[in-house]
Subunit: 409 residues, 2 copies
């Protein structure tokens, strides 16, 4: 029997990620940019708003005209103008004057605040009473109050969400630089695999990994390329790997990464010219039979053939790697672990990082994490899981009632 | 001045959602199904696994052959077969016999467990020693142990994630029924708006809402259709609404939903034949000027023109609505609010539901929610927010140190 020859810790693999380069950059239209990783710093070239803007419907006034106004002693103002939306007013406001204005309208010269319509009464077409003293800058935004010229708004390496797209459109940035999406090849190995549209004869199973890994890759905004099922044959796996390395940015082989008699992946990788094997075995459970090799600037992963192990290794190790090559600055990653309370004791072993599938539920205004029992290979156990708990390699186990942090699946 | 004529509570609007029908159904390929809403119950037509499967590399044995085995008193077994992956064995296992097997291999008749390779030693080509007693069913899965025939696996109305796709492929379901994605028209109204690739002259601003609402719609997996900028003109808005209703499943108008002089949306909706206005005003902040009308089976929304209000109303009210028509069973929704601790007091008013933008940070092994200060219209305030706190209409405010539940933005 062969052995894992280079078992590393979880932290070692994650650290190694930075040895790989990020994707090249392309320019795209803002309408295509949701979820993309921006490849430039966004700095405001002009202030926002660019002019004094009303944030309420009402009257633009010079605040001092209303000082001391109250229900019993209203201020009487002359309505001298109606400001049209999107237009500038030609009529500067003097003390004692007011101009009708809508939310978003531009304040005329001389006005330094807006009086809400609710605090006024119309006396006639040319006169209003104001019942409340208005403070300067009330219900308006000054130029540059939201965003000042030169303000750093979005950092290179940020994943764009809807509010980032709002920000970009406010600044008129309708074309932006982003990192290209990586293309990722998936190779499923194993003599026991049949395509999913076939009925597997006894002893064989359907190729689940091509589809579940493909979906995980899509979730990250990358392009999966299914290379199909490769049987346990050195030459086929070797030539498929070379062709996958040529046409994609990264390769994932699932199956054949263990140390059984038939495990070809490591032999094939060793045979590829220039391949440096960073790890053959990671001290985690599930997922020990994980391989990471570097071939020029490309990564080649060997993942366990077992679907649940493959999916967990993907989530824990391959996902941050893909995010890195996709351009995400990992330190700026906006993802949160969910705090919850454990319902039961979980045993673990020191020297190995364990990942435990849990179901989440609310009870007594608290979030509870309930470990899923059953054999770890059950596909049902991952399909029904809401999240993962990580048990650190220096911890012997967790107790019922412990506070835990959940990665949502 | 006009007035809101039908102000309802947040709960009223959400309840009204169920008056609208769900989208029709289409059949798609599994590779296109990530994030789609399944329109059928998935019930296993065959068990999984279909045959007894090894979950470890080792030897398939009859467990009783190893009873009492230990380091000092190993059991001696004859290796009578090597089971090839994906094949059935012709050699039934008797007491005292073993067959080499790899993870995923099919157990031969007579074997009821797998002995891990780590607990054995090879004596010669035909003999091994086993150092540990093996229990029946150890390191193997029985037929149907993961999934039994007839088991309900995925409920109609579930959003498909990567592990659901793993489950579907395991069952050979390469084509599935899903709800069609809704097409949603976005109309931006206002004389102050210019297209985002133009430099706005004084008094005008760029049309931010078309882009931010479009991104929010994309995030939900629906299709946004931008109808462009419509100026404050009854006839243009009326004819654009009719054409949008004809070619899409739902219409969102942003701007013109308030009660100012120029607010046309409500007038236009009232003029549309068959339009029933469910609300004109919702007791929330921000976002009071929100309109929901029903025209035949379609929804027409009026959202505030202010970008931050429009985005918050979308998140809180329009998003669950779109999820409903997209087929999501709201009761089964797997989304979690994040528990956090408030850093400061927040004032609120009874009789109105308030939404407060917060930034999140970890400190002392705790998640803290820090309310964002500044005028509510700042686009920066929503772009920099990590989440929203809801302050219920029956609550007067929240105190520093309170436990709060965060909707992640």
């Amino acid at each position: 029997m062969k052995e894992f020859f280079n078992v590393v810790t979880l932290n070692d693999v994650i650290q190694h990620t930075s040895c790989f380069p990020q994707m090249p950059i392309e320019t795209i239209d803002i309408t295509q940019s949701l979820g993309r990783i921006i490849a430039e710093d966004i700095i405001a070239q002009s202030p926002l708003p660019e002019f004094p803007r009303a944030t309420m419907d009402g009257y633009a006034v010079y605040s001092a005209s209303t000082f001391g106004a109250s229900e019993s002693n209203p201020a009487l103002l002359s309505v001298v103008d109606t400001i049209e939306m999107g237009k500038t007013s030609k009529h500067p406001i003097q003390k004692g004057e007011a101009a009708r204005i809508s939310t978003g309208g531009m304040l005329p010269e001389g006005a330094d605040c807006v009086v809400m319509i609710e605090h006024t009464e119309i006396i006639d077409n040319y006169t209003i009473e104001v019942y409340k003293s208005a403070a300067p800058l009330q219900h308006m935004m000054e130029p540059g109050e939201d965003i000042y010229k030169g303000q750093h708004l979005i950092k290179c390496g940020t994943k764009l969400k809807s509010s980032s797209i709002g920000l970009l459109s406010a600044l008129g940035l309708y074309q932006i630089k982003v990192y290209k999406k990586p293309c990722i090849a998936i190779i499923s190995t194993g003599d026991e695999l049949v395509p999913i549209h076939e009925n597997p004869p006894s002893g064989k199973i359907r190729d689940i990994n091509s589809y579940s890994l493909s979906a995980l890759i899509q979730e990250l905004g990358a392009h999966p390329i299914m290379m199909g099922i490769i049987h346990d044959d050195f030459d086929s796996l070797y030539s498929t790997c070379l062709s996958a390395l040529k046409k994609t940015d990264m390769v994932i082989i699932s199956g054949g990464s263990s140390v059984g008699v038939r495990d070809l992946t490591i032999d094939v990788i060793q045979a590829i010219k220039g391949a440096q094997i960073f790890c053959h075995g990671v001290s985690i459970r599930p997922g020990k039979p994980t391989i990471l090799a570097q071939i020029n600037n490309q990564a080649l992963w060997g993942l366990p053939g077992q679907v649940t192990s493959a999916m967990i290794v993907f989530r824990i190790i391959v996902q941050p790697f893909i995010e890195h090559i996709s351009g995400v600055k990992l330190t700026d990653k906006r993802s949160y672990k969910m705090p919850a309370t454990l319902t039961r004791n979980i045993a673990s072993v020191q020297g190995r990082t364990d990942f435990v599938r849990v179901k989440l539920f609310y009870e007594n205004n608290q979030l509870w994490a309930d470990p899923i029992i059953g054999k770890s290979g059950f596909i049902q156990s991952i399909a029904s899981a809401d999240g993962l708990i990580t048990i650190d390699m220096n911890v012997e186990g967790l107790n019922k009632g412990d506070d835990v942090w959940i990665d949502i699946l």
